[in-house]
Symmetry: C2
């Protein structure tokens, strides 16, 4: 079977591509499994480092939402799509039209292409806890209403509802995962309002000073890159019946404050590393971040077999092992 | 100012047009009021009876979502739009593409036209309790998650989220009312799955036999045409600040079973009228109707000054007075 991964040059996309190739087979909409014979990975830019070296893999750079790209991506042998490509929260807030085009209109075009296939394809979609916002209870439950307060959150939520309706009608077999803030993200900062949550761990460990735009009591709901990829594969293999009447689920995560994150960094890497953080409040980022929920009771996800990291220490140590070759700048 | 009403040939649209003209002034987005100097009413078909006789009113038949119609409807003097046009629940379920085109794509085009105006227009949108579905608590509260189980409900919900985001960004000043089942709807049955709830009152009072497609223990959440129009005008005049972080509200209503509706009909109009109802279960309509919630705690709406009818008897009597000239066929 042919598998498609959009947003494949991103840090989650790259890991997912590697994991799909390593797993070697995925589940079809009829419940049977099939060998991954080709994986078409795409992103607007090429990945920063080669993720190739596998004959099954082809990488194509381009905007997934154009007709030409959709012609290439969605062909009669496309059985599974992992749709991760998106304009991130800060970017979609800064440029409304760009966010709407990529996060909504292009995704709607993708759904229509999947619907037109002669079989029922399986679609795993990266949604976000940014679907929550506004006046919220202390703990987000599975039945809590979504009232996003960013364009990004709105676009993700709208896609979830389309995906559920397309699935209900049998046009495709969709699954949407609401991702916590994924920490630690390697590489450079991006326009996601949550970018700081990785930067304050990543940059000091590499000997770089970093500024934190929110105060230390700010809370974050986090999950590691390792776990999010495991959860994507879990989402792909679950039978449709397990999803019931909603194709969305809020993934498990850890609730942690910026202060606790830094305390853990200090425990793992020492004072000198932790002292590389400076404070420089950014009102716009604070507005967005304080609007995000921090505590969840993700019962549905846990029942479905999705899992969080056991501790933030485990997340920091995994970053050092996976992304820094086991060492850091003391 | 110019006011636009879409779906104006419908029974609610017709009443709303009359009420806007009678009120004579509406509230602008800056909070000031202005005289209604022109009202452009539109629908896919002309209204069944003239709603004219007022120099301020123009009726144009056509599909509101075409570029030509949008050119006509949304002009630099358009200050207030009541958007009621939609493919109803049964229709959108029967023809997915038609529902998507009218309920979603055309409405998105309307939002973009409003955004392009030199001022901030006010938009009142007819949403529906069909945004709720799936696994629900016994009583729907303001914080209950929306998981619609019809394409119509999904399309209404998606529009609500777009309207909230467009409002948050200051592109327009939107308000979405989730309408209960509106009873008693005059005229002929339509493709709404809720059509029966009006038919079992309306047709017997006019001497006609009627078939009820759901069993008598089926519950319905109802509001009268009189009250829904009052609530539309209330929604238009409320200050933006009252809406807070969500531009949607579930309107108040009455919870009633089909049995109680018929008992009330019997009380008001006598046994002979109530005996004109026959039972003919329809599995598809039952599936949709049983998926709708029946009990609500619409606290937010009540605090905002929206109101329900006092009793179902009042609803039946209002129908006889407003639509049957005060008489019925005994």
């Amino acid at each position: 079977m042919k598998v498609v991964v959009t947003g494949a040059a991103g840090f989650i996309g790259q890991r997912l591509v590697r994991s799909v190739l390593a797993k070697g087979e995925l589940t079809l909409a009829d419940g049977s499994t099939a060998e991954v014979t080709s994986l078409l990975a795409t992103d607007i830019v090429a990945p920063p480092e080669p993720i190739f070296g596998d004959q099954r893999l082809t990488f194509v750079a381009g905007d997934f939402g154009t007709n030409e790209m959709l012609d290439l991506l969605i062909t009669p042998d496309t059985q599974v799509v992992f749709h991760l490509a998106a304009i991130v929260s800060g970017g979609a807030e800064e440029d409304f039209d760009l966010g709407m085009r990529v996060n909504l209109y292009s995704t709607m075009a993708l759904l229509e292409r999947l619907r037109a296939l002669p079989h029922v394809p399986r679609l795993v979609f990266a949604s976000s806890v940014a679907v929550f916002g506004g006046t919220l209870p202390d703990v987000i439950e599975d039945g809590t209403a979504c009232t996003p307060q960013t364009s990004y959150g709105g676009q993700k939520l709208i896609t979830e509802h389309l995906l559920t309706d397309y699935s209900r009608r049998g046009f495709l077999d969709g699954r949407a995962l609401r991702l916590p803030t994924i920490v630690v993200r390697p590489g450079k900062p991006n326009k996601a309002a949550s970018s700081f949550a990785s930067a304050i761990i990543r940059d000091p460990l590499q000997g770089q000073m970093v500024t934190c735009p929110v105060s230390e009591d700010a809370g974050v709901w986090v999950l590691s890159p390792r776990k999010v990829v495991e959860n994507f594969l879990r989402a792909e293999e679950l039978p449709a019946a397990v999803w019931g009447t909603s194709r969305s689920v809020s993934l498990p995560g850890l609730t942690i404050t910026v202060k606790s994150m830094i305390d853990t960094l200090r425990e793992v890497a020492g004072d000198a590393v932790a002292e590389r953080i400076r404070w420089q409040p950014d009102a716009e980022i604070e507005r967005i971040v304080y609007g995000w929920p921090v505590k969840f009771a993700p019962n549905r996800a846990l029942e479905m077999g999705f899992a969080a990291d056991r501790s933030f220490r485990e997340i920091v140590e995994a970053f050092i092992n996976d992304d820094l070759n086991g060492t850091f700048v003391e």
